[in-house]
Amino acid sequence: MKAFKYTAVLGLLATILLAGFLLAAFVSDDPAPPEDAWAYIAPTAAPTDHSALLSGPFESGPAVTAACLDCHEEAGQEMLRSVHFTWESDPVMLPGRDAPVTIGKKNQLNNYCIGAAGNWKRCATCHAGYDWNSTDYDFSNPENVDCLVCHADTGAYGKGEYGNPAEGVELAAAAQSVGRPTRANCGSCHFNGGGGNAVKHGDLDGSLTFPAADVDVHMGGLDFQCVDCHRTEDHQIGGHMISVSATDENEIACTDCHDSAVHDDARLNSHVDTVACQTCHIPQGAVREATKMTWDWSTAGQDLPEDTHTYLKIKGSFVYEDNFVPTYAWFNGNADRYILGDTITPGETTYINRPLGSIDDQAARIWPFKVHEAIQPYDAGYNYLLVPNTAGPGGYWTEFDWHQAFESNQENSGLAYSGAYGFAPTVMYWTLSHMVAPKEQALQCNDCHGEGTRLDWQALGYHGDPMEWGGRSRTVSGGAEE
């Protein structure tokens, strides 16, 4: 009897299972629940309360660093290799050059405040180190590293001249507040590049400290911190910027978290080999604060009405723009770079940097850029761009004398001054990767295709709108593959 009961129960179970399975097969068709963006972010350790560990008092910044290094023994050496401290890249080969060069804020120039050399009083305010005041600065002393600028509460710490702690900072309180870097830590320098809020990047400004979701979906909508994407190990911070990094190493990509075939529409997915995510998802730059689009140094030194956004005697005249439409260009992750001492043709635009890639380059995609145009000083005798002494002693910002500014900076910059200067047009490209708009604001087909005007197809190398003329596999000669 027992054996029979067993069979019957088994039969019943099997029957129910069969019916249940069939039902479940149809019911479980539902799409997976929305994925938690945070699932892609490496979890961070709970912050350690340092208030009991660093009682102070501390006499100087380096004293704080020494205290940090007592426990974090490796951190000092790690930071000595970080570009945040070295301000200089490893040697790289640039196209058309015989020898490798290093690129960094330390030894090159841009077309904003031009160059740090000789201007450490102001420039080094954003150096992750203390008291950089000459070319003899000791880049091998770990105690010169400023731990606090990245790790202290920005309400308790700030930097002043030569990168030293600002007047009135209580170092003990600052040290006790340390933790994982926040948007405010990174933003204290990166939001203020170029000498003020929103000036430089076009996609980084103070609106990102506590951003709304429509400013940046990651930092606003999801409350991401910078270091959630700029993953950091051993103080080597992920990510690079075309202005100081000429190679495609250490890249952060959207596809680190997102599937490249993330769109429902196959036609959108077919764009991802050709179009950077940023191109559609960052439809405008500078969505909140206007950013500097042009800077004309040649008008500096005049007693004109001053306004931070139009004219300053020490800097010249500017044009700011918000919600600007980016410039689009092919970019394969590598860039060309003007290297200090390169000769220029004064009447022509000099590219301080230029994204590399073209329609023929399968690694290149169409990227959005902020293009900053400037008119900046060059040596009329040697035909190279000059780095003036602006913020240093006897610099242009106090004396308004260009000759003195160039002469006094010859040693610091390594650029001999012939005694004659002029102003030359320059251009600099800045990739846009932040201020990612909510998907509802992403570009649509018609923004570029059809009557859309965002992209100049022929300038990009297409025969015409690829919607009608075919994509680049059709355009590139010899590229018959789809």
């Binding site: 009897m1 029957t15 019916a19 149809f26 295709h449 009557e451 003329w469």
Partner: protein, 922 residues
């Protein structure tokens, strides 16, 4: 219409030959010319790169500079293109002229319609009536029609030719003809019209083929009667021509030595959406001035005003319009605009070889593509200006071209995108794509116009839907009407319904001319005293919106009296309902109607009422225009608040002859549900009463102690199929109940439940078929067959046992054995169940499911409105059977004995072993 035979000079042929040599190689409109090393400039919105320089010629073929004459498109463009062919093959030019006839001859429209097009078809929205020959009272004469309707007419057709086919300039000035007369707008007096002086309006190529046609100036020229200068005015602002002291002066500097137009003044291009939008409705393009609500309601934005359609790629949340919940509306106005499609991509020239479609008929079956088609050069010479069109409700013009455009399904694969949709074929057969994919129009659309009363500005009372009184655009859900498709099928499609009321007079009826209506209502710009007496309720000397309504016989008589006073006989109020098709403003699936319960529920989208007007003037219920290729699937009702509604209805037979709709989850026959419920409850009550009686009887009559023994009653397969069927039937009843009344079971996803119901039904059928095979093959089928001889005696004995013996503790009259498990009553019950109820349920179920696969079969057997209630009724009967069935299992030796037997197979039976039984070991 007179067809001019054009003769071409030899030079013309030389130019033409040259062009024909060059053009076919490179002319591109969507042409895919990949492999060229040196690609020509891509065609852009600003001018075709292929178009050669050209001079501007006057009607005589002389250069316009020669005598400061008006430009003639026919000669200018006719230098290369066959403009005579173009103008005579274009319903845009013809607008009904070639079908113009006596009033009422034009088809099923209004009895005073003279043609199916703008020239002759009366529209209650534009009101003015083109008078036919012989009407005593002229409303609009031909020249006035051009002045008024020329704004939305491209020229040619009735603006060049008379109704009899003569050129208008050549008409003899007949005094009583509306073709050569002109009604003085102030006095109403008829006077002659000088066609020689006004000239005619040639088909205006510039209007559609230049980037910035000056439509304002063109319209001004038309309104002022300078017909021949309308094309010239279209070029105003280009630098070619300017108005000096009311005269057009050509700018000689804009022409080169050869007389050609210097580049940069006017770019000839393919017609863009913006060109089409100038007459058809709002089209928004990149960089255009932001829209306002006034733009949406403008009479010029024809399709927008009548339907709320707006062709724009812009996302609604980026719109400058005051849209409700704008931030959540991330969809573009029209997905095709967003995907960079132009009007002409669907409404293409019918002989454009790029878009050319073989007619379906007459093609050999083995041929998929026929490469023999018009050469591009021939097309450019004679581009047919008949454009692919659909079949919109008010578009009665050129019916021979109906549905010549690519339909949704010619480009889209419906199956690939709708694999989630249960009953897909049924849905696609019953619904047009737009029904779900244009769920809401986010712009105001006209709801009614009441010409029976006039505002102090001489205009009618209008009402709008989709816009709140505070100006917030709320959008509206269009009404769903059955559309008669080109292939003979009907499907629900979205429409805006516009109700209109107006006075007509005389016999045969004519709409009261606006001039007379205004005279009846207004005197010197103010309301006539008689009108005020009749309408001014609050006595403030003016009439506000609440007072301006003819809602009493007295008020109707006041206006009718005034009209009669003007010599209009039998003035009376008529009303029309115009359905306006909605085919644009399409949304992707994300925004489409796809929640099952939007339709399959008590408040079904399909039956949602549409408010037509706040009241019905004169108590006149308007009638649907007869030529609208659609019919009302319901009735017009005046509700308690006095407002007039269109209430669609389903599941009812209609005189209209349209197949009635039956929507699962929305429709049900109440009587069936009540009857079914009654049977079910009665069964439960009966079983309970019987059980109660048994309980009390058992306390009085101890059942006789029997010698019981255990036998193997049910084989493993019998038990398996029984319990599988149990589970499935319970599942079917449950899912069926959800589908029947989805509003009561909100937590279940309708579409999964439908799927589950179908799957369960398939299991039931398979299980039934297998067990039928088992019973047949094993001979067990005999169990279920009642034996005819002495059946009634035995059945009676069994019945007597249930009503009597069981309470006395008697033995069952028929011993249960392996060979004879069922008593006679069971046999007859199962016989009925297995031969009637289950097959009936299976059949109705299959037919309901099959409504999508073999709709003809289903409808020939009564269709859903018959099958669905029957299916419901049988479901109730089955449910009642189960109650009875389960209850009767408790009538064995012990209440649970039979159930245990069906689980374990072993049953306890009385008396001596029967031959062949397997005896238990317990």
């Amino acid at each position: 219409m007179k067809k001019n035979k054009q003769t071409h000079p030899p030079l013309f042929y030389a130019i033409l030959a040259l062009l024909l040599l060059i053009l076919p190689a490179v002319l591109v409109d969507g042409g895919r010319v990949w492999a060229q090393e040196e690609a020509p400039d891509a065609a852009t919105a600003t001018g075709s790169p292929m178009h050669p320089d050209f001079p501007l010629l006057d009607a005589a073929g002389e250069h316009v500079l020669a005598g400061d004459r008006a430009v003639s498109t026919m000669t200018t463009c006719g230098g290369c293109h066959d403009t005579t062919f173009i103008a005579s093959h274009s319903f845009h030019a013809d607008v009904g002229l070639s079908d113009f006839g006596a009033p009422g001859s034009a088809g099923d429209g209004l009895p005073w319609d003279s043609s199916p097009g703008l020239f002759g078809k009366w529209d209650p929205l534009t009101y003015r009536y083109l008078s036919p020959e012989g009407d005593g009272r002229v409303d609009l004469s031909t020249p006035e029609w051009i002045q008024l309707f020329g704004a939305r007419h491209v020229g040619g057709g009735p603006a060049v030719y008379s109704r009899g086919g003569q050129r208008l300039e050549e008409l003899a000035p007949v005094t009583d003809s509306p073709e050569t007369q002109y009604v003085d707008p102030d006095t109403g007096a008829l006077g002659p019209w000088d066609w020689e002086a006004s000239g005619t309006v040639e088909m205006n190529c510039f209007l559609c083929h230049t980037g910035q046609p000056n439509n304002e100036a063109r319209r001004a020229a038309l309104e002022s009667g300078d017909f021949s200068w309308a094309a010239t005015a279209t070029l105003a602002g280009s630098g070619l021509v300017e108005a000096v002291d009311g005269e057009w002066r050509w700018n000689a500097a804009a022409f080169d030595a050869q007389g050609n137009v210097v580049a940069g003044h006017v770019e000839i291009q393919d017609a863009t959406s913006a060109n089409c939008g100038a007459c058809h409705g709002l089209v928004e393009t990149v960089g255009q001035e932001p829209l306002t609500a006034d733009d949406l309601q403008s009479a010029d934005a024809w399709r927008t005003r009548t339907t709320g359609q707006l062709y724009s790629p812009e996302r609604l949340l980026n719109s400058t319009l005051n849209l409700q919940d704008k931030a959540s509306l991330s969809r573009p106005w029209d997905i095709h605009a967003e995907r960079a499609l132009n009007c002409t991509d669907c409404h293409y020239s019918l002989n454009n070889p790029v878009y050319f479609q073989q007619p379906d008929a007459g093609e050999p079956e083995h041929l998929l593509f026929d490469p023999r088609r018009l050469a591009l050069g021939d097309y450019v010479y004679r581009p047919l200006h008949e454009f692919a069109k659909g079949q919109s409700a008010q578009g009665t013009l050129a019916p021979e071209l109906d549905n010549s455009l690519r339909r949704c399904e010619s480009c889209h694969d419906v199956e690939a995108a709708h694999d989630w949709l249960p009953y897909r074929e049924r849905h696609t057969a019953a619904l047009s794509c737009e029904t779900c994919h244009t769920p809401v129009l986010y712009a105001p659309a006209q709801a009614s116009v009441d010409w029976t009363v006039l505002g102090s500005d001489g205009n009618p009372m209008e009402s709008w839907r989709g816009m709140a009184s505070d100006g917030v655009i709320t959008g509206y859900e269009p009404a769903l009407l059955a559309r008669e498709n080109g292939d003979g099928s009907t499907s629900l499609a979205p429409y805006n319904l516009i109700a209109s009321w107006y006075w007509v007079y005389g016999e045969p009826a004519r709409p009261v001319p606006l001039r007379d209506l205004r005279t009846a209502w207004l005197e010197d710009g103010a309301y006539a005293p008689e009108i005020l007496d009749g309408f001014d309720v609050n006595g403030d000397g003016g009439l506000d919106e609440d007072e301006l309504r003819i809602d009493t016989a007295a008020r109707e008589a006041v206006v009718a009296g005034r009209l009669e006073g003007l010599g209009l006989e039998q003035p009376r109020i008529r009303g029309s309902v115009q359905p306006y098709s909605i085919n644009h403003n399409v949304a992707t699936g994300e925004w489409a109607t796809k929640e099952c319960r939007d339709c399959h529920g008590p408040a079904s989208r399909v039956t949602r009422p549409t408010r037509l007007a706040g009241y019905a003037p004169g108590g006149v219920t308007p009638t649907l225009l007869g030529d609208a290729s659609t019919q009302l699937h319901g009735e017009l009702q005046v509700r308690q608040d006095g407002a007039l509604y269109y209430q669609p209805q389903t599941a009812v037979e209609e005189a209209s002859g349209l197949a009635p709709l039956y929507i699962l989850g929305h429709d049900s026959v109440d009587m069936v549900d009540w009857a079914g419920l009654l049977i079910f409850v009665a069964t439960v009550a009966g079983a309970s009463a019987h059980a109660g009686l048994r309980y009390f009887a058992a306390r009085r009559h101890r059942p006789q102690e029997e010698a019981l023994r255990t036998v193997y009653m049910y084989g493993i397969y019998e038990r398996l199929w029984h319990w599988l069927q149990t589970v499935v039937i319970f599942g079917l009843l449950f899912t069926g109940l959800i589908i029947h009344k989805p509003d009561r079971f909100g937590i279940f996803a309708f579409r999964y439940v439908v799927e589950a119901h179908n799957v369960l039904a398939a299991i039931l059928l398979a299980n039934a078929a297998l067990s039928a095979f088992y019973h047949l093959a094993s001979g067990e089928i005999q169990q279920f067959l009642p034996r005819p001889r002495g059946f009634f005696d035995r059945a009676f004995a069994q019945a007597k046992f249930y009503v009597q013996g069981i309470f006395r503790g008697e033995r069952h009259p028929f011993a249960k054995t392996q060979q004879r498990k069922l008593n006679p009553l069971q046999q007859v019950t199962y016989f009925g169940l297995l031969n009637v109820l289950l097959p009936l349920q299976a059949l109705t179920g299959i037919l309901m499911w099959g409504a999508q696969r073999w709709p003809e079969l289903t409808s020939s057997l009564g269709g859903l409105p018959f099958l669905a209630p029957l299916h419901t009724l049988v479901a109730w009967l089955l449910a009642a059977f189960i109650v009875m069935h389960v209850y009767l299992t408790t009538t064995g030796h012990t209440p649970a004995g039979n159930i245990r037997a069906m689980i374990t197979g072993w049953d306890e039976v009385e008396s001596v072993p029967q031959p062949g039984e397997v005896e238990g070991i317990s």
